[in-house]
Symmetry: C2
């Protein structure tokens, strides 16, 4: 479960559980990350995002289902809130989303 904590956003960060973390790169990067998981035999892939990247996460899932893995089903969509500490020590809340896609 090695996870690069140094780059929390920006790269298609992936952990042992087939997780693709959405950052600020072009959507196609994340679509490819998901595709790689499915093509290497994964039965399900989870797409996670927070804050403004949430709409990007939905874009990724929709593009993937529309164009690349048409038999992938939406297994679960959950939303939540995370507390993030800012540089000045203030805390603010950020919304999160997790979408799990599964192949039959």
């Amino acid at each position: 479960m090695a996870e690069e904590k140094t780059e929390p956003e920006g790269t298609p960060t992936t952990s042992g559980e087939n997780v693709v973390l959405i950052g600020r790169k072009p959507i196609m990067n994340y679509v490819l990350a998901c595709l790689t998981f499915f093509n290497s035999g994964a039965k399900q892939v989870t797409i996670k995002a927070r804050g403004r990247a949430i709409s990007r996460a939905v874009d990724t899932v929709e593009l993937l289902r529309r164009a690349f893995v048409k038999d992938a089903a939406l297994q679960k969509i959950s939303i939540g809130t995370e507390q993030v500490e800012r540089t000045e020590g203030q805390k603010s809340n950020v919304s999160t989303i997790e979408i799990t896609l599964a192949k039959p």
Copy 2:
């Protein structure tokens, strides 16, 4: 339940089915629109958004559940794609989200 079709986004547009359409206004406007529905006796409210407003929709739901209607449960979250025609006649796809909140 008269619906202003002239402003598809930007105002807390509402239809007969307790729908709040998320646009570009401050999140608090949409939270208040949902609150108004619940306070007038509605048992469920659906929050809809597309494109970049999707993350705003999640923010609205989370703020509402965290601060205002703590007993509201997430009844359904669905995502999809809509075809939008641009001014030049080109078609492009835009992602959508629908979140339904229900009170017990």
